[in-house]
Symmetry: C2
Subunit: 340 residues, 2 copies
């Protein structure tokens, strides 16, 4: 941690003498204000102001995503629950796959509640939302959310009604519906947005610059909530890179705070994007088995569910993680395992 | 919640017949696809596409900040802990002040651990970080963070090493240091950034567009963490509005991933900004009393602490909230109390 106070920082100092010592392993600098500092050569090399060192560092902070389409289904990233609990190498590989592909299927999890807590303890902790620390997805009477029915769930990301929407979603399949339906659908929203930008630049611009209201009103655990977030469907960072896809038609509000002449164009752009998200060139279908945990990037992937018919036969436990914690754990494991 | 699937949405429909019924309280629309829909007039009025209705709605979602300087000290927003626990009107006013001024001092809190949990239960829940659900600020041996010493803490925001940095910070003063020092310093970072933009547009541009690395490496509760976030010091939204100030020199990394010719200009801009943050035109000083809780917006305010001398005599408990939950609670209370 940096202890120098900025008030004591002088911008005008320069080296008045430089010595290479300890057979080139250390550089000593006498600064013009009289301060003598020593810098290990490796420390300086790692921090060199050049593209190669910068790329290495970028990768430590966050590796680049590997975009995918339907071909991923033949080679789904997979992990084993018992291994993740015991083996740091397996855990590191799992976290790296989640970072690169935004999706991993974890198998052989015990089919009872509480397993997301066990897996989370290996990573960091569960990130709580207004739906609780974890939540149960099954058909309910008087549901506050379409997820709690047997209906088809259109492709979406979870809870864009939060400015801080959940980063990573886990769905633990405790009991799958054994008839027709209940399959999950998954699309790489970064891949689709990237191609959408090339094919329909004007529509991309509309979706990336028009904020819409996502809303969630209800009661959980006896507590009322009233969440609204005002964000574009495709959120860009200051460099124009795609940061997050906020796609959720059932939580989009009936308020639309734009001039009326922008409404039709926005709907047209959204419908074009929606068709690409559902195109089987991009969208994969995977029906979870009992004991699977689907872990995926909620900033990047869109997920849906095919309708099923008999109520009450499908039970999932869901929970969330934050990227900050997952990346922290990946960096810690990477440093630890590369030193062994 | 919206149940229509986008695949069933037709962009080309238009009204083929419109009737005003129920003495003007309802409009019936027969759409060109044969669907007959009824719309209450009040529902339509609230959603009218005009500036006035949009402003009303904006205010429901999030009210505009009231920027401040040193004059705030004469009129500090205040609340009473016992009242907040019992009185919904007092709680609503507290949340509204936090939203408008980014700062409230809560008094008469019992001087023992666990009070942040009690206050949080009235709002939503504590937002956990890698420092735990709450954390104790006092002088420690072998500190992992400068906050855990008696040293001066330069003005900063908390944990910009998280991409999802904590939104709102609470510091509960259980035992204040009774000698000289230990006062908190607080500056409205939105006010400073706003004036900085006018006075030094080039320097503002540098700070708003150059991402720097904020880092936090350590061990908490036996668990290693390695957090890095790459963000500009002043974060703008897509409309160029100031969203968050990330100012924290002790967690700024020794890696700086920019071309070398940008380094000196960035330091110069940062030092100018730092001087404004510390200028007593903007910065207020407040020494918490035993039983005070300082609650402030960590996206907006910068806070610091004057050094104190004798170790171990100052104990605070700290915790965080998310804006999503605080705004949700404010909207729920506002709707509830305006209906009573």
């Amino acid at each position: 941690m940096r202890k120098l106070l900025v008030e004591d920082l002088q911008l005008g100092v320069s080296p008045s003498d430089i010595q290479v010592v300890d057979s080139g392993r250390v550089i000593e600098v006498l600064w013009s204000d009289g301060h003598l500092a020593t810098y290990p050569a490796t420390w300086l090399h790692q921090r060199a102001f050049n593209t190669h060192k910068r790329d290495l560092r970028n990768n430590t902070v966050r590796s680049k995503p590997t975009l995918w389409g339907k071909e991923l289904l033949e080679n789904l990233p997979r992990a084993s629950f018992p291994e993740l609990l015991q083996d740091d190498s397996a855990l590191l590989q799992f976290l790296q796959q989640l970072e690169s592909h935004g999706l991993v299927v974890v198998s052989d999890t015990p089919t009872k509640l509480g397993q997301l807590h066990r897996l989370s303890d290996r990573v960091a902790y569960l990130s709580r939302s207004h739906y609780g620390e974890t939540f149960i997805v099954e058909s309910k009477n008087d549901p506050i959310n379409l997820a709690y029915t047997a209906a088809k769930l259109e492709m979406h990301s979870d809870i864009p009604s939060r400015k801080y929407k959940p980063c990573i979603q886990m769905l633990h399949c405790i009991r799958q519906f054994h008839g027709e339906g209940g399959d999950n659908q998954l699309t790489d929203g970064f891949q689709v947005s990237h191609n959408f930008r090339t094919l329909h630049p004007d529509k991309f611009h509309i979706l990336a610059t028009t904020p819409v209201d996502f809303i969630d009103i209800g009661v959980e655990d006896g507590r009322d909530f009233f969440l609204v977030n005002h964000d574009p469907m495709i959120r860009l960072d200051i460099n124009g890179q795609i940061q997050s896809v906020n796609f959720n038609q059932f939580s989009r509000d009936s308020y639309f705070r734009v001039p009326v002449e922008e409404v039709a164009g926005w709907y047209d752009a959204m419908k074009t994007f929606r068709d690409m998200v559902n195109d089987n060139q991009y969208c994969i279908e995977y029906k979870m088995k009992d004991g699977d945990i689907l872990v995926f990037d909620n900033f990047r992937l869109l997920h849906g569910r095919k309708a099923y018919t008999i109520e009450g036969e499908r039970v999932l436990e869901g929970g969330y993680w934050e990227w900050d914690d997952v990346l922290s754990r990946r960096r810690v494991l990477q440093a630890k395992l590369s030193n062994e």
